[in-house]
């Protein structure tokens, strides 16, 4: 049976009137302290991570300063390191991914939230969740063996012939490149857009839809002109979330992007991304400056995803609370 020293919930955490030792004999206090240690570990690990990233890139930061962000040259030969080609590659591939994934994803989310009967919606969502669980390297596998040849045989000729005069579509094409990476990334981030958008759409109060319908709008009009705008902050949040995921993607990108630090307007040009160059060069970076430049890239990536994730969260919370009538 319980010890004589049971505390009632209303007693709350021990007050100062009991000595520490006597509090310790209380099983609850031990439990509290133990679990607190573990919770504190989480915070400590996070702090340590940021600290390690910061100090292990000190040399590079001292030498290059903000020039790091605008220098194009990445040459271990002369110990000159600029992040620009990798930031460019990361951003271009992610933006391309969003251009493809956002319309598809929102469309699918609208279908799941507004049209599909609940059971079908749940079943389809189940499959979408499974899609989100597919690991990056498997997407890379498919990218290398399906999308790269497709790019070379179908997509490039299809786009280059009619539109080759535009700088975006200039050849030559190697199969690998920005667009290929963008397509693979798009497939990877669609599930995030769909799940979150579906949830925020579902949280839009029913009376909004009914009001629109009562005023004579068609189903589509009520959806597109009333429900979606109501949820738009949350949908934007889902896009930020997808973007954050795309930015950090390593394996699938490195297998199809071409691994060349190039800045080019052409979508078919090979390039490189921050995550990809770290994966390729980290184990061979001889010399402290080289290694610290790579860690510096890691720090940049970390900051980018950190900011985006934070924004995403705020946007999603604001929308769902708005929908349920809870004051933010």
């Amino acid at each position: 049976m319980a010890t004589a020293k049971t505390t009632l919930p209303s007693a709350g955490p021990a007050t100062g009137s009991r000595s520490f030792v006597s509090r310790l004999r209380d099983g609850d206090e031990i439990a509290r302290l133990t679990t607190m240690v573990f919770a504190a570990t989480v915070v400590l690990i996070t702090l340590l991570l940021v600290y390690e990233l910061w100090t292990n890139s000190a040399l590079a930061r001292a030498k290059f300063g903000f020039h790091f962000f605008v220098t194009r040259v990445w040459d271990p030969n002369i110990d000159q390191y600029g992040a620009l080609p990798f930031m460019y590659g990361t951003l271009v591939t992610s933006v391309l991914a969003l251009l493809i994934a956002v319309p598809l994803g929102i469309g699918a989310a609208i279908f799941l939230a507004e049209l599909a009967p609940p059971r079908i919606s749940d079943t389809l969502q189940f499959f979408i969740d499974l899609l989100a669980a597919v690991p990056s390297v498997i997407y890379g596998l498919l990218g290398v063996f399906i999308i790269v040849p497709l790019m070379r045989t179908v997509i490039f000729p299809g786009l280059n012939k009619p539109l080759g005069f535009m700088p975006f579509f200039k050849g030559p094409s190697y199969g690998v490149g920005f667009l290929t990476a963008g397509i693979v990334l798009a497939i990877m981030v669609i599930p995030y857009i769909i799940s979150v958008s579906r949830e925020v759409l579902l949280s839009v109060p029913q009376d909004q839809r009914e009001a629109a319908l009562a005023l004579g709008s068609t189903h589509w009009e009520s959806t597109w002109k009333v429900v979606v705008p109501f949820a738009k902050t949350g949908i934007l949040g889902s896009i930020f979330l997808a973007l954050a995921r795309a930015l950090g993607e390593t394996m699938a990108v490195t297998m199809v992007i071409g691994n060349t630090p190039t800045i080019s307007a052409s979508l078919f040009s090979p390039g490189d991304s921050i995550a990809s160059v770290i994966a390729n060069q980290f184990t061979e970076a001889t010399g402290d400056l080289y290694l610290q430049a790579l860690v510096g890239l890691g720090l940049v990536l970390f900051l980018m995803t950190f900011i985006l994730n934070g924004l995403a969260r705020i946007l999603i919370v604001v929308t769902t609370q708005k929908g349920s009538g809870v004051p933010t």
Binding site: V73, W74, D75, P76, N77, V148, P149, R152, G171, P172, Y174, G175, V176, G258, N259, T260, P270, D272, N280, Q281, T283, E284, A285, T286, G287
Partner: protein, 343 residues
Amino acid sequence: MKRIAVLVVGVLALGAIVWAGQNPLLINGAGASFPNPIYSKWFDEYHKKNANIQFNYQSVGSGAGIKQVTDGTVDFGATDGPMNDEQLKAFQDKRGYGILHFPTVLGAAVPTYNVPGVTGALNFTSDALAGIFLGKITKWNDPAIAGANKGVNLPANDIVVVHRSDGSGTTYIWTDYLSKISDEWKSKVGKNTSVNWPVGLGGKGNEGVTGLIKQTPNSIGYVELIYAAQNSIPYGAVKNSSGNFVKADLVSVSAAAAGAAKDMPDDFRVSITNAPGKTAYPISSFTWLLVPAKIQDAAKRDAIKGFVKWMLADGQNYAEGLSYAKLPKEVIEKEKKAINNIQ
């Protein structure tokens, strides 16, 4: 269900603990992909003869090999670009003792390509190769290439250059050659395991480059001979310093090493690209094992010394089957003595 889960976890844990109890000696190495086919064969054969010793070699590129052995995260490294004085000093400063180079085999970096309609060996002059990799020669039917290949139907397609994306000894060999035959290359790009390529796609390891070339029409890249041979992709002949177009094979690679064999420096670091000799293949190279001069663990030290001894004797017999040339006799003798430098 919970009980079954606990049981499964318990069995697995037990198995893992039992595993940890058995202990063949595991020696970790990393480095060049250039000799990976023969190293993996050697380590496999050596393990068959010495069941309690395992050499785990990861083909991650010469650059990574040099770094990992300097950091001490692997027991030995491997590279086809010898460590330069700066890297040697860095090792000495970090560890307090030096590092030794041991040549293992001779190999060749060959220009390999995937040109629609071309199945045979193309002839490449040194100017052609420099021009292609500098990005100045952009089409396959450029006169610089066509001039040496009369009778071959070269298409007017854009050349896709493929190079290494990781730090590579094969890159070192290739750029070492290009620096010798092209002043423009020397001043613009230079020679190193990792350079700022003017053009091209990056593939990881010899394996990655071969893979890219196989899949990309109109591509050209540089790989170790065995990779082209094993994957049945055509590779070209290169014009050597005597003016002859020579294809890489055991004879031409050995010819390139003949001169260096007699004058081998004590630390075995030597370049044999663009070697003199009528039959020499101009882009040949030794490849080296990197062994720290001092190894604390006696078992590991003996195992490594034993392997090097075996490699210089029986191991050499496997080389030719995989298209690597054997080491010249003088070099083998010199190395046998140098083994004693491993403390």
